[in-house]
């Protein structure tokens, strides 16, 4: 049977169009990287990492407080989000019945879909309002809630990928269920778990919206955990919409540092995960 010219042409055109679309999407990534690299490196200097922001009107200064601030808020978020998500993930993978697991998974997915700005409002209502001031703690709570869904799904996925024969082996040696989980299953899934949690952290590290009215921002060092605190993403936002050209340069530098951090974590973690998958398939 001969395929008509029209059908052949449609085939070729449509297939190449799909290839072109893919190329277009990929080129956007490289465009972003290139543009940010050029502008970011140009404005990045040593002061950026060591100095405080200058008062408006003066040029120079850096974002040392925002770098430390991001670290503090992310530490709080990890302490809140990861344990809850990890333990709930263990429940899903090791203890739960089918229907209940399905329900939890569904609710976790919905929580994952809640817009970050809404999470910000909730953290405001939960922490800022009762304590009557903006704080690093409130920012940590907001990001912590955002970390829960991925922590749950990551834990469940990697624990499930541990072969059942390992659980049976441990139980046959007389280990209890809890001993099996915590001394055999979790260690076996450890590299995946850590990579997954790093991805989770990288995802919330760039979150800005939930911090706008929880952590707020600060032009100086923030003492302790109950004061407003500067973070990199919020600084980028504030500087990008400011009129001064010097602040735009700082925003580029901060954007460059943030993106490199996020992408570096993403690339390493995904490579570790993929290697694990490849070896378990073998």
């Amino acid at each position: 049977m001969k395929i008509s010219a029209r059908r052949r042409i449609v085939n070729a055109v449509m297939l190449s169009l799909s290839g072109i679309c893919t190329l277009l999407v990929i080129s956007v990534l490289f465009f972003i990287l290139g543009y940010l690299l050029v502008h970011g490196v140009k404005s990045l200097d040593f002061d950026f990492f060591t100095k405080l922001p200058k008062p408006s009107g003066e040029t120079g200064g850096g974002m040392a407080n925002a770098i430390v601030g991001s670290g503090k808020v992310l530490l709080l978020a990890t302490l809140i989000g990861v344990p809850i998500g990890f333990l709930a993930g263990i429940f899903l993978a090791e203890f739960s019945g089918k229907t209940f697991a399905f329900t939890i998974r569904y609710v976790v997915d919905l929580l994952n879909g809640v817009p970050s700005i809404v999470i910000g409002i909730v953290a405001y209502a939960l922490v800022v309002r009762p304590m009557r001031h903006f704080s690093a703690l409130a920012g940590g709570v907001a990001l912590g809630i955002m970390m829960i869904p991925i922590a749950v799904r990551t834990t469940e996925e990697f624990l499930r990928s541990v072969p059942n024969s390992m659980r049976e082996g441990a139980m046959a040696l007389g280990a209890t269920r809890a001993q099996t989980i915590f001394t055999v299953v979790v260690p076996a899934a450890m590299s995946g778990l850590i990579s997954g949690m790093m991805l989770n952290l990288a995802r919330v590290a760039g979150e800005t919206a939930p911090l706008l009215f929880t952590a707020l921002g600060n032009m100086f060092w923030s003492k302790g955990w109950l004061e407003p605190i500067a973070t990199l993403p919020v600084m980028i936002y504030n500087y990008a919409i400011a009129p001064e050209e010097d602040l735009h340069q700082q925003a580029w530098a901060a954007g460059f540092v943030l993106l490199m951090l996020v992408l570096a974590i993403n690339v390493t973690a995904r490579m570790v995960i993929n290697r694990g998958h490849a070896s378990s398939r073998r």
Binding site: M1, I3, V10, N11, M14, L15, S18, G19, C21, T22, L24, V25, I26, L29, I32, Y35, L36, I84, F86, L87, A88, I90, F91, L92, E94, F95, I104, V107, V108, L110, L111, G113, P115, S116, I117, V118, I119, G120, I121, V122, A125, L126, F134, I148, T176, A178, G206, E207, T208, A209, L212, P233, Y237, A240, A251, W252, L259, L263, N266, R270
Partner: protein, 324 residues
């Protein structure tokens, strides 16, 4: 003698208190992990309760008029969120209009045509796009995309479609169109990676059967594979829509933050998420704050419904493929 000691030990076990039994570890770990799982329900319930409770003053004061009127006047105590709702919908529509064809086409290429190694590499790169923080999209939007749109896209649109009310009026850079374009780039990765997964889940026999009766590669894809994966692809689109509706920073930075309803996509607008981001920290007065939280509740409701739908559609496809 032996049997009585067994009976004794059984009785002893039964008599052990709850605390003693917990010492085994199994029960403790069961209860602790169960508590964490239940805590997730509590968190979701808390989100709903806090949004609902804190928006009560605004709900009582305005009711449905909140969504039907367009005067947003904090000084006069009048709050109508229609312009924000309009901006959220318009920008998301523009985003989907661009992202759906591009994303689905890319997914087709990655699932049906590219060799597995290349496909995995390209998917990896596209998923990196999803990892770029939204504030960085906003930064690039302001300084890279806005000038490009002003110099190239808008003159071209005006000269070809200028007769449409959509592309009339003056253009300052910040606009519905700019926000929609940034959103499109941001949601494409979601469409690509989910659509690719559902396409890959379509059984190979379906393709082989179509090819065997003489269909071309494209006809196989378009008439057989896509319909099979249809609900999963719609799921990915709804997922992207939910992202677009709730996206805050990038939109706030390029939409212009002007609460107006106009037909022209070239004029500045506002979105629900953007107004919350801009005004929440400085809002004073119960009614003002509560109106912003009410807007947040509306946004929450919208995204939850769309997400719920998306998950069901994706689940339905993967189950169909699993049973086939």
């Amino acid at each position: 003698m032996a049997s009585s000691s067994i009976a004794g030990s059984l009785r002893h076990r039964a008599n052990r208190g709850v605390l003693a039994r917990l010492r085994g570890g199994d029960e403790i770990s069961y209860l602790v992990t169960l508590a964490c799982a239940v805590l997730i329900f509590v968190v979701v319930a808390l989100i709903v309760a806090k949004l609902w409770g804190n928006s009560q003053p605004a709900i009582r004061a305005f009711g449905w008029d909140f969504l039907r009127t367009s005067r947003w006047n904090p000084n006069g105590g009048k709050f109508g969120a229609l312009p924000f709702l309009y901006g959220t919908c318009v920008t998301s529509a523009i985003a989907l209009l661009i992202a759906v064809p591009t994303g689905v086409a890319s997914a087709i290429f990655l699932a049906e045509m590219a060799p597995p190694k290349l496909s995995n590499l390209l998917t990896f790169l596209i998923e990196l796009l999803a990892a770029v923080p939204s504030v960085i999209y906003g930064l690039l939007g302001i300084f890279m995309l806005l000038p490009l749109i002003r110099v190239y896209l808008v003159p071209a649109l005006k000269s070809t479609f200028g007769f449409l009310p959509l592309f009339q009026g003056s253009f300052y850079g910040v606009s519905f169109l700019s926000a929609g374009l940034v959103l499109a780039v941001m949601v494409i990765p979601f469409i690509v990676s989910v659509s690719r997964e559902v396409l890959l889940a379509v059984p190979t026999e379906q393709r082989e059967a179509a090819l065997a009766v003489g269909a071309t590669k494209w006809e196989t894809t378009w008439d057989i594979v896509l319909p099979y994966a249809r609900s999963g692809i719609f799921g990915s689109i709804f997922l992207a829509l939910a992202r677009a509706l709730g996206e805050t920073m990038a939109v706030t930075m390029v939409i212009g933050n002007t609460p107006k309803i106009t037909a022209s996509l070239l004029s500045p607008g506002y979105s629900i998420a953007a107004v919350i981001a801009n005004e929440f920290a400085e809002a004073s007065g119960d009614l003002y704050v509560s109106s912003l939280i009410f807007a947040g509740l509306v946004l929450f409701g919208l995204t939850i419904v769309i997400n719920a739908l998306a998950r069901i559609l994706i689940l339905a496809t993967s189950q169909k493929a699993a049973t086939a």
